[in-house]
Assembly symmetry: C2
DNA sequence: TTGTACGCGTTATCAG
DNA sequence: CTGATAACGCGTACAA
């Protein structure tokens, strides 16, 4: 079942190996007639080029690495990474590339060294939750083309990200527009760029509304449900009329906390989250949130990476993907708010 | 930053390329002195072998594919696949291999063809939800060493699986031992081997208890929450005193349905699930269930696969992994059951 | 437009 | 124990 080689195809077609190679690689310098003939044999023999040989000759492979450090914690609970990978895999497949998985974290040996050296992968999609992940620098230093998922302040790095700031501002504005004036937020951890951006968006919304940002209405969580619960407990002391949680999980925790305090959502407190996780519709009431599409992020990252590989000398590329505000019952409606008064 | 080559290391060490190669590959036929000397240079130069070159020379790579067909649906909602991949990646890393991701499904071009041909990957871990996935046959036919995650009736295939039957029997027995006599089950789809096995375990438990299996107490769902809800609705007509759902998601749906019917868990109906998903502890009451460890499955699959690659002629290998019964409040206790009467 | 010849980095074979 | 040397399959100047 050994796959046929270029040489064999050449023999069967009655042409030289080079010609077959040109056909395979869509080199224009081959007559339509021979091309068609060769292609037929190629199809008949179900010929596939040997990736190792090609990689060796070309000096690079058509494999890119998806580096996800600290997967241990995140990957378990969150559909984010699978969706990201899915998007990457789709985009890679479309452009004749493969995705090699590299979960980082303690205990892994080959993550940095093997991958970063020329000859293994042509590029890297790096998806750390935080900007200063220890894996980043060595990878970057290896000069391997790399795209980060999630923005970086370093202006040498290419990245894709969702519009965290804009989206957060949009949610918060929505809460304000509904008549709420004491809009609190349960932010993500300050080491996560996404959290910082969402907090910035929240602030921007408040200020755009001519209100003052109240430190008492800001709680820093860690994206987890339990931190959402802890957050709301602390925030309730300052009587917010609305809460924007920077993740759906924290929103879920907050919802529990609000209930436990004997308050109702949205009648007493309007609530909004971020992510549009599957369970967002299952909550009681369904959660207003921001929908992001990790698949698109993954696809965009891969696309940028392939561009970068094609033109290694080009300046860093960035791409910010839009999100979608999903309004559900948890934030109440204008009408609800009027009835409240 | 081009990685150094064997040739360069040889020059720096004052030996031949062959000797360096032997050192790299732990070939015993090299003196301790030269070995140490060469190793030093290798370390200093941070030399890494070029995988393409090695793959070409060896006729095989150290890359294995994780083929997950139909990932589109599953991968989104379920932490199962990420955990499986995680386990695979860990095990692969440990044995100097890499995992290449290959999500199948419609629209993918390279899944079968490119992967199955010699030269791309050394082996395949195949994880379809169902036994007769259309991708399986062509992959199997390609003769590439392959391990299936989830058992198969085909005695030519190697696989790893959890002990679905035994675990199900254990849960059902637990429900029976608590005094329940009308133990119903919401089974998974009959095309899924895991579902079939869990149902078989359920039946075995009933019979081992000297009871008759009642068709009316069996509902076939599809592992989804909504099917759990539909299932319980149908089952309630036959007055079960306990329900074993073949997935936690179905159990969650059943829980909702039981509530909606004005009944209590576990007082009126004892409930148990399967999977020990993260949300199992969050339910009210916390769910009795079976814990499986997809990481272990992935690691086992990879391990079996590497063995198979090393000895392609060996007979199919199988491995059944144990699970753990996690007793929480949803099934009630002996004491609860007594109070009921 | 097509073919020839060489090199990519590694392993394996065969002398020494 | 060590060193040449020939593959492995493919891409690509260079020549025809």
């Amino acid at each position: 079942m050994a796959s046929s080689t270029l040489e064999q195809i050449a023999e069967l077609s009655g042409v030289s190996r080079s010609t077959v190679s040109r056909v395979i690689n869509n080199d224009p310098r081959v007559s339509a007639a021979t091309r068609e003939h060769v292609l037929e044999i190629v199809r008949r023999e179900r010929y596939r080029p040997n990736l190792s040989a090609r990689g060796l000759a070309l000096g690079r492979t058509n494999v890119v690495a998806a580096v996800i450090p600290g997967a241990v914690d995140n990957i378990l609970t969150d559909p984010y990474f699978p969706r990201l990978l899915h998007g990457m895999a789709m985009a890679a497949d479309e452009r004749d590339h493969f995705v090699m998985l590299s979960l980082g974290g303690p205990g892994f040996r080959h993550t940095v060294d093997e991958i970063a050296r020329q000859g293994v992968v042509a590029g890297i999609v790096f998806s750390a939750g935080q900007v200063d992940d220890p894996l980043f620098e060595p990878l970057f230093a290896s000069q391997t083309p790399m795209v980060s998922v999630g923005r970086s302040d370093d202006d040498r790095v290419s990245y894709v990200d969702v519009d965290n700031r804009g989206s957060a501002q949009q949610v918060a504005s929505h809460l304000l527009r509904l008549g709420n004036r004491r809009v609190a937020t349960i932010a993500g951890p300050s080491f996560a760029p996404a959290a910082v951006d969402r907090l910035a968006g929240y602030r921007a919304a408040i200020e755009a509304f001519g209100l003052r940002v109240d430190q008492d209405l800001i709680y820093e969580g860690d994206f987890s449900e339990s931190s959402g619960r802890a957050g709301i407990k602390s925030l309730l002391e300052h009587r917010p009329d609305a809460v924007f949680a920077a993740s759906d999980r924290m929103a879920a925790g907050a919802l529990n906390g609000i209930r436990a305090a004997g308050l109702r959502v949205p009648e007493d407190i309007a609530l909004a989250g971020f992510d549009d996780m599957p369970f967002a519709t299952e909550l009681e009431p369904p959660l207003t949130t921001v929908r992001q599409r990790p698949e698109k992020l993954g696809a965009a990252a891969l696309s940028l990476l392939l561009d970068l590989i094609a033109e290694p000398a080009s300046p860093p590329k960035r791409m910010i993907l839009p999100t979608e505000l999903i309004v559900r019952a948890s934030c109440g409606s204008l009408q609800d708010q009027r009835e409240r008064r």
